[in-house]
Symmetry: C2
Subunit: 295 residues, 2 copies
């Protein structure tokens, strides 16, 4: 109903649940101005929230944007920032419903997004069942390769303007065979244990789908590609737990719908903890992903 009032108003769908998520991005913690354009910073801030909406199987409705403006930011840079938010808001049909603007020492974007999902389509990370297959919506590690300096188009795009998997999330949300879903914001090494723990189960990672840019970057650094990707965050692909009998069919339908496969990475099973297959060996996973409060 337009901006300018103390709050923005909208009419929620009668048949859906509402969902809300909120992420704060701070300069020099989550990004640097040297590494990203203002347009990219704006895009990424909204993208990380939309990825959470996608992970619930929901579609975004609106967003509020709280902007902290650091010193020395020009009007043009501010417009670029909004342009980045706005471009993704338009393509994802997310209304910008207001927000707040304050002076800060570091550039800060806190975005809250409200979405809607039919109750029967909503997925949680805690829904995985014993023997479910774990799969992801795309190869991983390209965003990290971009961070590490890979200039391929794949790495550039995934690092700078990662597409939130909204269509995939809603499609997967519509399948009863998908028991659990979450987005991969911190990397498999952090996020698979989260899903396993939330579901009260153990998991094994049997193969890691390595993006081409990640393979090249790991190779040039003499790193193991699998290890490189396990710790690589910000891919914003979706992680799902799928009923084993349904997986092949679901994967084929996914391929047909999105032009790329749903990639099996492992399984959940009874017990606790997460192991990783290395050739014939099973090694316990070391959780080494990104923890914002770690010193």
């Amino acid at each position: 109903m337009g901006i300018g009032d103390d709050a923005a108003a909208w009419k929620p769908s009668r048949s859906h649940l509402s969902v809300i998520t909120c992420d704060a991005l701070i300069e020099d913690i989550h990004f640097t101005r040297a590494a990203f354009s203002f347009e990219e910073i704006g895009y990424r801030a909204l993208a990380s929230n939309l990825s959470d909406i996608a992970a619930m199987g929901a579609q975004p409705i609106l967003a509020t944007v709280a902007l902290g403006i650091g010193p020395g930011i020009s009007t043009n840079e501010l417009l670029d920032l909004y342009r980045g938010i706005d471009s993704l808001a338009r393509t994802s049909k997310t209304a910008i419903a207001g927000g707040d603007i304050v002076r800060t020492q570091k550039l800060m974007l806190t975005i809250a997004v409200v979405g809607e999902v039919r109750a029967s389509n909503m997925k949680r990370r805690s829904g995985a069942r014993n023997k479910d297959i774990l799969a992801v919506t795309g190869p991983l590690g390209a965003s990290r390769a971009g961070l590490d300096g890979d200039h391929s188009e794949e790495a550039h795009r995934k690092h700078r303007t990662p597409p939130p998997r909204l269509l995939e999330g809603r499609w997967l949300g519509g399948s009863q065979s998908v028991h659990a879903m979450m987005d991969l914001s911190d990397g498999l090494a952090m996020d698979v244990p989260r899903m396993a723990r939330a579901s009260g189960l153990a998991a094994i990672i049997e193969q890691v789908p390595v993006a081409q840019a990640a393979r090249a970057m790991a190779g040039s650094r003499g790193n193991d590609p699998q290890h490189y990707v396990l710790e690589a965050g910000e891919d914003f692909e979706l992680l799902v737990a799928v009923a084993p009998r349904a997986f092949t069919h679901l994967s084929q339908r996914f391929q047909k719908r999105f032009g790329r496969p749903l990639l099996q990475i492992g399984r959940v099973h009874e017990g606790s903890g997460v192991t990783v297959r290395k050739g014939d060996l099973l090694e316990p996973l070391q959780e080494t992903g990104w923890d914002h409060l770690a010193q």
Copy 2:
């Protein structure tokens, strides 16, 4: 549905509109750690959002809290901060539905609150009509007096733990005689012009209801109490535009319901701009309130 997923979910009321508001509070811009306890900082951050919800005639449903933690904040201080948020969340029946926590240089709280309001009860600031009476839900200036060092209970409470006028907002929202409503966060000198402009009208401020603490503080400083209060923000009382014929009856009912009067401060009329009556003189209002982006 609990925290721990990528987003929090709730079932919106079928008969209501949803509203959302978002405010960012930054250390040394909106508050200092020297002036407020952590509990007060948490309380005030939620209160300023709830005041916006009240101004729409809505009731709060849930909040997301994005917390930026500056250096040197202890776990106990963080718990105090949450305690401040939680105490007000409980009394106002606002569920804390998740959020984000990051490291920052300055303490930062960005809170988004979702509320609900029957469409017919929602008030906007643009709804004032020619000849409407302007009124406020309580005397003004006590918060500012507290900021300026007044130690009376009135000033202390309004400055440190200002009660958002949620019950008053919903009650006023239920009256068809109330044409426009907003909260007084920046003071009459900023907020009356906002309502007048949004409604395409002019306004005259004929009397300013001065809180006792504000009268004392203005007196001790040799300031004109009216002038002192015009510029005093953060009272979080509600400003309403009321049909002139209905005002006396509405004010009596308000008194009966809340034990204090609805205080007339002036009127809106055709034209533009805001004037203030000083004795027999009418002076144009100087907008001198708080602008966060002013240098």
